[in-house]
């Protein structure tokens, strides 16, 4: 088990956070710490806007960081499960970023 940090960009919608937290509980993953902020500077996320052909507006998205204790094999499964949540726009660990249909080989969030 290694402590790993996940970063999520997600829609700032009612119920979105609880879907993420609920998924950890439901699938037996553990949460060491969790932090959410609204995103007001979109410049680091231009690549998402381009990829998804969208334009973020004020108060529309939030950034979530989660510290979790997991094995390597479970890591990929957690990323894929999070990526499947409909309010999650992108999720990354240290090495990869899942941006809905697209898998990118580095941490871009």
């Amino acid at each position: 088990m290694i402590k790993r940090k996940l970063t999520l960009i997600m829609e700032n919608k009612p119920g979105a956070l609880v879907r993420v937290v609920g998924l950890f509980h439901q699938r037996g993953y553990n949460i060491e710490s969790l932090h959410v902020d609204p995103v007001d500077d979109f410049t680091p996320y231009k690549f998402i806007e381009e990829q998804l052909e969208t334009k973020f507006k004020e108060n529309e998205i939030s950034r979530l960081t989660i510290q979790t204790l997991v094995s390597d094999s479970l890591m990929r499964q957690i990323l894929r499960q999070l990526n499947k949540l409909i309010d999650v726009i992108a999720v990354s660990n240290e090495e990869t970023t899942y941006l809905k249909g697209v898998l990118l080989d580095e941490n871009l969030l």
């Binding site: 997600m10 829609e11 009612p14 119920g15 609880v18 879907r19 609920g22 439901q26 998804l52 052909e53 969208t54 990929r76 499964q77 894929r80 499960q81 990526n83 499947k84 409909i86 309010d87 999650v88 726009i89 809905k100 249909g101």
Partner: protein
């Protein structure tokens, strides 16, 4: 510019459902849904089926969805209406069935006050839905409906809940109605077309394999991939097995079909999977009822996994080649490439493999045929019931089932040649599913034979729907395989708990099912002797316009075999009460 239509939230909901192509809703009214029910009353496009319990509504919508491929639609009230729907929502979720469930909610200003019939439906349903919406602004109803149907039916399908506070549907608040033509959810983008590179890698493996097995599941049915699968195997000529959820996607009477695999799969299907050098998994997810102990699963096989859901691939069994996309499209791509390489493929190289499989098949086929003795000194065997039903209906009926031994006998002995005809709760294993699911199928296909193979335990979990069947005149045939016990539980107790039948029998408390059927206005037939079985079933199926409940007393001691030995490989099976592999 024409003036836009102004409608209340409830009327918008009805219009939106109609614009979405919905023809049928299964539901049950109550306070928080009354504005919606009034809007329903004032229109004539959508038909509403009044069930007798909200669980029945969800299973009926589910049966409709499984048989047609179209989403099932449910309407319930808040509080108990919503919570009663949960089992059916979870059942649809676990089997990836498209469904939209609309639940009334208390008025927005009352949310959080413990108001009458208030329950947090979004919260309670969250782990068992693909997605959910709560309406906070009535203007958004058309858009939410559009999104809900899109999410429910695309990618890996699943149930979506729309929770609507009562004030959102109030008759005196009018809004401009327009149904969106297109839907785009920026954070939702399920794969459709496969990656070409992966297709090339998959084809290279297919050309090389000496002991391939095609393993197709419910995802192949969801993707309507039967023609592609059939075409693929015209080229490959490989043995094919289906999961419990996949039965019918490949014709059961085809000579390359191995039968179902897994917990109660056939000997040859499990042996072939275990000894394969290549497994082509198509819309199947290596569930624990399939793999037995994953670390002992098919030690020599490479795995090509076709799926629309990233998280299903390499979850239990690591895939060597993952192909993401609609499996129909992925199969088409594989076929297209294979067709250019036919000179590199020789079906004959599979002959030793086919010979081996033939050997397995003849050594331990489904063995009821071998030991049946249908004289009246012997009790009726449950397998015989299914076999007769199969023969009488010429294998063409829609068959729903409940959960237990009867379900496994139905899966083993009714041979499905077409997809969407075998309707059962595979992953949740929800007792009570069969009868309401059969209603949903019968509404979709009024002119087809629809039957429910059930057990005296399961049928009592949604028996109230017999009343719905009378109201809407649904001539379903119910075949109750009555072993006077929770047979599957009892079988486990026989095998693992020294025969201690803890709470799995009813001590002579079963109802008289014939009278019960009659009191609901239907026909009941009781069968206790082998010599009466065939004629009783024929009589039941000859009553085309009546619901007939056939209560067949069978051997209570019978077990389902083969059965995988827990924690071992797929090669390790009980073949009968005293014989294992």
């Amino acid at each position: 510019m024409g003036k836009k239509l102004k409608l209340s939230g409830a009327d918008m909901l009805m219009r939106a459902l109609h614009d979405e192509g919905v023809e049928l809703i299964f539901g049950y009214p109550g306070g928080a849904a009354l504005h919606i029910y009034d809007a329903l009353f004032r229109q004539d496009k959508i038909e509403h089926i009044l069930v007798r319990h909200e669980q029945g509504a969800t299973h009926a919508a589910d049966g409709y969805a499984r048989s047609t491929g179209k989403p099932g639609v449910v309407l319930v009230t808040s509080g108990p209406g919503a919570t009663n729907a949960i089992t059916g929502i979870a059942t649809a979720f676990m089997d990836s069935i498209p469904m939209v469930v609309i639940s009334g909610q208390v008025a927005s200003h009352l949310i959080g006050t413990d108001a009458f019939q208030e329950t947090d439906m979004i919260g309670i349903s969250r782990p068992v839905v693909k997605h959910s919406y709560c309406v906070f602004d009535a203007n958004e109803i058309p858009k939410i409906v559009k999104e809900a149907f899109h999410v429910a039916t695309s990618g890996r399908p699943g149930p979506v809940v729309i929770d609507i506070p009562k004030d959102m549907t109030a008759p005196d608040n009018l809004f401009e109605y327009e149904y969106p033509k297109k839907v785009k959810i920026r954070s939702y983008n399920p794969p459709v077309e496969p990656d070409e590179n992966q297709i090339e890698r998959a084809v290279a493996e297919l050309l090389k394999a000496k002991r391939p097995v095609i393993y197709a599941g419910g995802g192949a049915i969801a993707s309507n991939a039967e023609e592609e699968l059939f075409r693929l195997n015209e080229i490959l000529d490989a043995p094919v097995t289906n999961t419990l959820m996949g039965l019918g996607i490949y014709p059961a009477t085809h000579h390359r079909f191995l039968g179902m695999l897994g917990m109660h799969g056939t000997y040859q299907a499990n042996m072939a999977m275990h000894n394969a050098d290549l497994i082509i998994a198509i819309g199947a997810r290596f569930d624990d009822r399939i793999t037995n102990n994953p670390s002992k699963f098919s030690p020599g096989a490479k795995v090509i996994h076709l799926d629309v859901d990233h998280s299903s691939v390499s979850k239990i069994i690591e895939a060597n080649i993952a192909v993401f996309g609609q499996v129909k499209n992925s199969l088409s791509a594989i076929i297209k490439l294979l067709e250019t390489k036919l000179d590199q493929y020789n079906k004959d190289t599979l002959q030793p493999w086919h010979d081996q499989i033939k050997n397995w098949k003849s050594s331990h086929g489904l063995n009821y045929e071998l030991y049946k003795d249908e004289s009246d000194e012997n009790p009726i065997l449950p397998q015989a019931v299914v076999q007769h039903v199969y023969n009488i209906t010429e294998g063409k009926a829609y068959v729903t089932s409940d959960v237990g031994q009867h379900q496994m006998f139905a899966a083993q002995y009714y041979h499905f040649d077409e997809p969407r005809k075998w309707i059962n709760s595979g992953s949740m294993g929800t007792m009570g599913f069969g009868l309401p699911a059969a209603m949903g199928v019968k509404f979709a296909f009024p002119n087809e034979e629809v039957l429910c193979i059930t057990g005296e335990g399961s049928i009592q979990m949604c028996i109230q729907e017999l009343s719905t069947c009378l109201q809407y005149n649904l001539p379903i045939k119910i075949i109750n395989i009555n072993n006077e016990a929770l047979g599957m539980v009892k079988q486990w107790q026989d095998m693992n708990y020294g025969g201690r039948h803890s709470q799995s029998t009813y001590q002579n408390s079963l109802p008289d099912f014939v009278k019960l059927a009659e009191s609901y206005g239907h026909v009941g037939i009781k069968v206790e002797k082998n010599s009466e079985l065939k004629s009783a079933l024929e009589k039941a199926f000859s009553m085309k316009d009546r619901l007939v409940f056939v209560d067949v007393y069978v051997d209570p001691a019978e077990h389902v075999y083969p059965m995988l030995i827990a924690n071992h490989s797929l090669e390790d099976m009980w073949l009968s009460k005293d014989k294992k592999t």
